[in-house]
Amino acid sequence: MILLNLCLALPAAAFLLLLLVPRSRPGWSRWSALAASLVIFAVSLALLAEFDGSNGGFQLETNIPWISAPSIRYHVGVDGMSLWLVLLTTFLTPVAVLISWRHIAARVKEFYAFLLLLELGLIGVFVALDLFLFYVFWEVSLVPMYFLIGIWGHERRIYAAVKFFLYTMAGSVLMLAAMIYLYNLAGTFDYGLLMADLVSGRMQLGARQESLLFLAFFVAFAIKVPLVPFHTWLPDAHVEAPTAGSVILASVMLKMGCYGLIRFCLPLFPTASRGNAPWIVLLAIVGIIYGALVAMVQPNMKKLVAYSSVSHLGFVVLGVFSFTQLGLDGAVYQMLNHGISTGALFMLVGYMYERRHSLEISAYGGVATPAPMLASVFMITSLASLGLPSLNNFVGEFLVLQGAAQANFTWAVFAAIGVILSACYLLWLYQRTFLGEASDEVKSHMFDLVPREWAATLPMIVLMVWMGVAAQTFLPSIGAANARILDRMQQGVVMDVKNTMPARGTEVARAR
């Protein structure tokens, strides 16, 4: 219990501490950021020891009042899904610190401070069990990312940062409105109480009401995921962001949307989720294929990887809206997988940028000759990303597709095309950047991985293999959490049947 609060308190403390480090000593900022993020990671690992994986409910909860009127509580806790997302965040933050070591030369202290603030926001999003608290963390995570892109980005960073910010805000405003609406109905922002009210039937939503609320939440999350056609902020943000920003953005921030879908959309609005599933699945499948096709023709490496994210996250949404145990498990696992493998891809592209100062594929070619280790690592990462069995993505993709096939075999038929296309764009990228004869520019600029880069890369590679082979480390607790959500979906259906009986009051306001 204390540990989870520490996971929130430590990044905040580290953020404040970093502000005190003198600006003239960038080295101090780097080392203290690294030390802090490693400590946070260690603390979050300790969560594992206290966590009971067989229990699908929330654990390690803290629930104390924050603001009395309106009733907002500091209510945090983790279940089998959010636990891993917290760990993903804490794992990637030291990695992000390491890969920015040389890349970020200006305003070093501020950069790392923002990075730790970002970590705070992200962890907060995954552990918040009060809708308002969730919203606060959601916005907290937005601001540092805005600055990371806007200050340390490339040429068109302002455009990208503003686009990112506005897109996300557009969605989250709707979400806030829906939250407040829910508060007016239920008199609480607390997730657990809301669920209890919905399950017990104390609070009932009319079909239209539920549908609108669902959409408000859904749009916020769909933009964050991002689901086609809300995705165009992503390539710009990625291309302009500094490497660490891209890594965190792809690996963790996009998961906020997926997480929201599973945590809020499904259990709070089961009927509307089912009702809207057909077109959402359609969008997801379109996203899978569309993202892959567009990725295939990108001349810019980061854009390519960004569009591949669109494709990969289509799988996640597909899995979520298949409403099957396999699909949901696969979706959550795919969230983690994508965090590792796409994060690693962005990291490696970042390494290449640091050497050659270009993101254009045409500036490379033959990199394997001067940098064989970089080439090998890139190969493994690409293979993980394209879903080679025995590496991580395969398990997630397989479960998602199998779940989709259980729901509707046609979905799997179309979605699986993405697996073919992912091989096309990644191998083609690899061929054009790493293989062939190296030009003189490439030879003179490119050099192999240095120890610091190894330190950031090796854990990712180990995880890719581990998650691909020993998926059972992760899946049981994820499955337990998802089983609860599916139970809730079933109850939703049962209640649906009840609702067809003589109508009762649709709104039960309750003062608290």
Partner: protein
């Protein structure tokens, strides 16, 4: 526990050792690790099989759960039955020979350790493929060997054609795997499990499907996977290009083992196919069509490896024909003998290429009989084996397939016989062009070292005598024995076809050397059509690849993404900015006017207060 896991684990360890430290190790150390791991693997296979004896029942060992979700549990489970035993022996023994051969062949190449690391990795995945006890673990091996194929085809990564061929192989295989995965989904939907044991036991309880049903669909989708891996129509196009890899790769992966994975897989799924005769018919048809088409293309190729590549495609078609005719054991039998003689053909070709410092064009060879006698003799052994000359290995297995085909549908037998004739012709064409006549190239041919010729000799022995491993009888408990009497006449006809093919080749390339060119000139467009492989690659390129790439670029990316969606978003942004520039006039930057606005706002608030009081 017999520790089956050790069999694939040895090569994996070899891969890790060579891959991690091989760069700094000496060649001898690399050799020791690479060859040693395969030797250990072979020894463990022998020990295991000796321990298991007659293998009346499948021996399964379950190690750990790979992943589990809902009611789907996929375990890391290995199994050995009679079919697997055959495959294990072939893979490890032929694999070992080719490993040894590669020491000599690759001795002058850069990236020596890398080559052997990939080779060991391949052995690992291939062994995993044949020992897997469920569909998904098999798929691990399945994709893994594809990966190694990709890596080894693109081994000379400085050559654009090699890397492109690698990509093509991987992507075409992926298209096949698409079918495989869909089949796996259907199997889980239908049977609730992915374990071979459970699925096949459940399938055995089902009626034979007379019209297209779930099993037929599964069968067809699995066939798609097999067609990708085993280079069948329409997915065969990657295999000829795969010859860009070093020759030992072509021998091991693209002739003896990996490409036969499709055959193995269909034989493994025999319980499903037996109940889906429609799917089985399609298997036979695809196999036959591939056999004929590839044999025809093989007639006109001038690159020695390409000839053998098309020959491989054609022979794989034969195996599919055997499977499709219901004679699974005949298909596997041919798989075994083919592994021997085709590996030998490729290794022999490699020896020739090695002798000529990289020359692969048949038109610049000739008369090598005198310069490379060992190679010549061994290749000749392989040629008579593949041509189906009795009593050598190819004769036995091909015979079994043709008999089954005749029982299945007589016209298939006749097409098969014609293909046998073509096979004999193009193989001997290659042999005659390379080894007879006078030398037409600029190099100084020399015989290969013993490390290369010894494996050749061993394989030659196997090619000649391999037909006496009675694989069909060994497999009888698993597969119902092929029906139909052993009709001597049918055998004579196929032997005659082979003899005709050989004689024709002798006539055209040795007795009357000008005849072939004149014939080609006479048949102009037909020759060009065949020479250019029926333009299949070009058609795929125009019809599939380019529309996909260019459509994505022009329509999806620039049109929909940048134009439509981003355009709309930016329009919204522009409109907001326009609105903002009107409102901006208020933001004059003058504090005093701000103060005035604040005042105005408080006046409004006060007025509201006053009015609301008035209203009350």
């Amino acid at each position: 526990m017999l520790h089956l896991w050790l069999i694939p684990a040895f090569p994996l360890a070899g891969f890790l050792a060579n891959g991690l430290v091989g760069r700094r190790a000496s060649k001898a150390a690399v050799n020791l690790i690479a060859i040693g791991s395969v030797v250990l693997s072979l020894l463990w296979v022998l020990k295991t099989l000796a321990a298991l004896g007659p293998l009346e029942h499948t021996h399964i060992e379950r190690y750990f759960t790979w992943f589990q979700s809902g009611d789907l549990r996929v375990g890391f489970d290995l199994a050995v039955d009679r079919l697997t035993a055959v495959m294990l022996l072939v893979v490890t023994s032929v694999g070992l020979l080719i490993h040894i051969y590669a020491i000599g062949y690759m001795s002058h190449e850069g990236g020596y350790y890398r080559f052997f690391a990939y080779f060991n990795l391949f052995m690992f995945f291939m062994l995993l493929l044949v020992m897997a006890a469920n569909f998904l673990l098999m798929f691990v091996g399945w994709e893994g060997v594809g990966l190694c194929s990709y890596l080894l085809i693109g081994f000379y990564f400085l050559r654009h054609s090699a890397t492109t061929a690698g990509n093509k192989a991987f992507i075409v295989n992926r298209i096949g795997d698409y079918g495989f995965t869909l089949a796996v989904f259907l199997i889980f939907l239908g049977f609730g499990s992915l374990d071979f044991e459970t699925v096949f036991a459940a399938a055995a309880g089902r009626p034979v499907e007379t019209s297209a049903g779930a099993l037929t669909l599964i069968g067809l989708l699995l066939l798609a996977g097999a067609a990708g891996k085993s280079a069948q129509i329409p997915l065969y196009v990657w295999l000829p290009d795969a010859m860009e890899g070093p020759t030992p790769v072509s021998a091991l992966i693209h002739a003896a083992t990996m490409v036969t994975a499709g055959v193995y897989m269909i034989a493994r799924c025999a319980p499903l196919y037996t109940r889906a005769p429609l799917a089985l018919d399609v298997v036979a048809l695809v196999g036959l069509a591939t056999a004929v088409l590839a044999a025809i293309i093989g007639l006109a190729q001038t690159d020695i490896k390409k000839v053998f590549a098309y020959s491989t495609v054609s022979q794989l078609g034969y195996m599919f024909l055997g499977l499709g005719s219901g004679a699974y054991s005949a298909g596997i039998f041919h798989l075994v003998t083919h592994a021997f003689f085709k590996a030998l053909l490729f290794l022999g070709a490699g020896s020739v290429i090695h002798a000529l410092s990289g020359e692969q064009d048949l038109r610049r060879m000739g008369g090598l009989r005198k310069h490379t006698p060992v190679t010549f003799v061994t290749i000749l052994c392989a040629a008579v084996a593949i041509a189906g000359v009795p009593p050598f290995s190819g004769f036995h297995s091909k015979d079994a397939i043709l008999l089954a085909a005749h029982h299945h549908a007589p016209w298939m037998y006749w097409a098969g016989v014609a293909t046998a004739g073509l096979t004999a012709f193009y193989v001997f064409r290659a042999v005659f062009l390379a080894f007879f006549g006078t030398y037409r190239g600029p190099h100084h041919p020399h015989e290969s070292p013993a490390v290369m010729t010894l494996p050749l000799a061993a394989l030659a022995l196997l090619s000649l005598a391999g037909g006496y491993f009675n694989v069909p009888r060994w497999l009888e408990p698993m597969f119902p024995p092929a029906e139909g009497a052993h009709d001597a006449l049918l055998v004579y006809i196929s032997v005659a076809a082979a003899a005709a093919g050989i004689s024709l080749a002798w006539l055209m390339y040795v007795a009357r050397p000008g005849l072939a060119d004149r014939l080609a000139g006479r048949l102009g467009w037909l020759y060009r059509l065949v020479y250019n492989k029926f333009f299949v690659d070009e058609i795929y390129d125009r019809a599939l690849v380019r529309p996909c790439v260019e459509g994505s670029s022009a329509v999806l990316w620039r049109g929909v993404d940048a134009g439509l969606i981003d355009g709309a978003v930016n329009q919204v942004g522009m409109k907001a900015r326009d609105a903002g520039s009107v409102l901006r006039l208020i933001q004059s930057g003058s504090i005093r006017s701000y103060a005035a606005w604040v005042l105005w706002g408080s006046v409004l608030a006060l007025a509201a207060l006053v009015l609301s009081r008035g209203a009350r």
